[in-house]
């Protein structure tokens, strides 16, 4: 089985369904728009901030505020790409055409990842520039230390979120179940764990908290995170790898 054939096929699959377009455009619009809104609000609030807050104000990270909501659309994208094969029954047709299950799964994930990467990068840069435009004289520039890394990392973060969702969906084989677990996981549990001091230490090893470290340029005051930006991204990559291996094992083992 030529891998190129699988990739072509998966590209046709991904571009021929409406859900790809609307999930990805939602991710773009929400991330950028919310980032711009928060940036504009931050600028007007800046004068009222405490000295400490002003000291740790991170214009780059502020323009990525939309990511927290935009990532949900990325999760939906990742889940639907994989789990819709199961919910529609297409999986049987697909596996009859590509019986090498590893080639099938990783061909699919490669195509979806590449698409997510392109969209994620574009979104990240757009969110940065438009967010900075809202911040006026508070703005950071791409040449400042750590900023390019943060903007680039923002794109990687979006991509890894989508990949993680694909792995989880491959394990759970149902879009409703996958979304039912991933949505609260990223939207609620992560922030709840982060709110309490005792659980915070555990919470920051979750994929989204660890991964989003890469988007920070100015660390918060009293930050005792035991990893740096790239370390955080590394933790997230480990999560993604684990999810993908899990998905692969499930697909390999179970009857379609």
């Amino acid at each position: 089985m030529a891998m190129a054939q699988v990739v072509r096929s998966e590209w046709t699959k991904i571009r021929s369904v409406a859900s790809t377009v609307w999930t990805l455009s939602l991710a773009v619009v929400v991330t950028i728009a919310l980032g711009m809104l928060i940036s504009a609000l931050s600028k007007s609030e800046y004068d009222n901030m405490s000295a400490q807050d002003r000291l740790s104000f991170d214009p780059t990270f502020t323009s990525f505020a939309g990511t927290s909501l935009g990532q949900l659309a990325m999760i939906v994208f990742g889940v639907l790409v994989v789990a819709n094969e199961y919910s529609t029954g297409m999986i049987r047709t697909s596996l009859a055409a590509v019986p090498q299950r590893g080639a099938f799964l990783f061909g699919k994930i490669a195509v979806a990842t590449l698409l997510a990467l392109v969209v994620g990068m574009a979104t990240s840069f757009a969110a940065f520039f438009l967010g900075q435009a809202m911040l006026g004289d508070l703005k950071a520039s791409l040449g400042d230390p750590g900023v390019l890394r943060a903007v680039f990392g923002g794109g990687l973060y979006m991509t890894l979120i989508a990949m993680f969702s694909m792995g989880v969906a491959a394990m759970l084989r149902s879009p409703m179940l996958s979304l039912g677990i991933l949505m609260p996981f990223f939207f609620l549990i992560s922030s709840i764990l982060g709110a309490v001091d005792a659980t915070q230490k555990v919470g920051r090893f979750l994929p989204d908290q660890a991964g989003s470290k890469i988007m920070q340029v100015v660390p918060p005051v009293g930050d005792d995170t035991p990893y740096g930006p790239w370390g955080g991204l590394g933790i997230m990559v480990l999560w993604v790898v684990a999810a993908l291996i899990g998905g692969y094992v499930v697909l390999k083992r179970r009857d379609a």
Binding site: G89, A96, A256
Partner: protein, 321 residues
């Protein structure tokens, strides 16, 4: 050629397919019959490598399914008309399958034409009727121009014209020397389509035989004779040692397949025959007889007259009350 050897599938305690061994040969249509829950679909899924056998082996032209390079060029299957992403158009559905097996896009247009879906090729599959979905599934099976075709309940949802079409399509494919393996619950349809039968019940092989042999082995055959010289013929048959089972005023029924004998005897004794027709039970009758013990969901007692009696009784009761 599809070869199964000792194929077995267990789901926990339940044995879905039990030690199946048979071969599906090219050039003919092989019907695959069995009551619901007999293991037909599981068997077909194992042929396609979708389900893993617990034991035994299934090979396509001597190879395991996942050893086939571009499998759609070897074997095309219609398993489930709904194995389609509803949000994708018929064209794109076929295109992604074609690309996965290195089949040119031109072929997609061809098969759409063959199944008569060209006009709706760009429409999303979720708007398709069952019959249209079935045609799309058939198009996918034909896509790689494979030598082996497998159809699970192909006439499901098709209208009479479509049924006629798929029957002749399968015959044409077999006549071209391809292997055609088709499962169906419609005995009358199978009787018109299949040359050879594989029958399973409760996962076990019950028969692997030609259609004619299957009917002959599993049912009663007799010859119906109509003659204006009834008494004379009765005498002649009696003399020849042929017993007459039933007889009306002008009709005789003779057990067995003896129409040639009777024809010769009548000619010898100058008896005029107005009818001499060998009668055979239907495939349905033969099938029922064979599978009587292995049916999973029995309707109550299988005796509708009895049920209706009970039902009427009940109805009368509440009508009174």
């Amino acid at each position: 050629m599809i070869e199964l050897e000792g194929l077995t599938k267990r789901y926990g305690e339940k044995v879905a397919v039990n030690n199946l061994t048979f071969a599906v040969r090219p050039g003919i249509i092989t019907g695959f019959l069995g009551p619901n829950g007999a293991g037909k679909s599981t068997t077909m899924r194992m042929v396609l490598g979708l389900d893993r056998p617990t034991a035994g082996d299934v090979r396509i032209d001597g190879k395991h399914y996942d050893e086939l390079k571009d499998p759609l060029k070897y074997i095309g299957a219609l398993l489930d008309a709904k194995a389609v992403h509803g949000g994708r158009s018929a064209y794109h559905h076929l295109l992604c399958l074609a690309q996965a097996n290195g089949i040119p896009a031109k072929r997609v247009h061809e098969v759409l034409d063959v199944v008569g879906l060209t006009a709706v090729a760009k429409k999303k599959a979720k708007g398709f009727s069952l019959g249209m979905g079935q045609r799309l599934g058939i198009a996918a099976a034909l896509l790689g121009d494979p030598r082996i075709l497998m159809f699970d309940e192909p006439v499901n949802g098709l209208d009479p014209e479509g049924i006629h079409w798929i029957r002749n399509l399968m015959k044409a494919l077999a006549a071209q020397g391809r292997t055609v393996f088709v499962s169906s619950h419609l005995m009358s349809e199978m009787a018109l389509t299949a040359d050879h039968l594989v029958v399973i019940g409760q996962g076990r092989l019950l028969a692997d035989t030609s259609m004619a042999d299957f009917i002959a082995q599993n049912s009663r055959s007799y010859v119906r004779v109509r003659t204006p010289q009834r008494e004379q013929l009765l005498d002649v048959l009696h003399e020849a040692g042929i017993t007459v089972a039933g007889s009306g005023s002008e009709v005789l029924e003779v057990e067995g397949d003896k129409s040639e004998r009777i024809g010769e005897l009548a000619a010898q004794h100058r008896i005029v025959l107005h009818e001499l027709s060998p009668q055979q039970a239907s495939l349905e009758e033969a099938f029922m007889r064979l599978t009587a013990e292995s049916v999973e969901y029995h309707a109550h007692g299988g005796q509708p007259a009895g049920q209706q009696g009970a039902q009427q009784e009940w109805g009368a009761e509440w009508r009174r009350g």
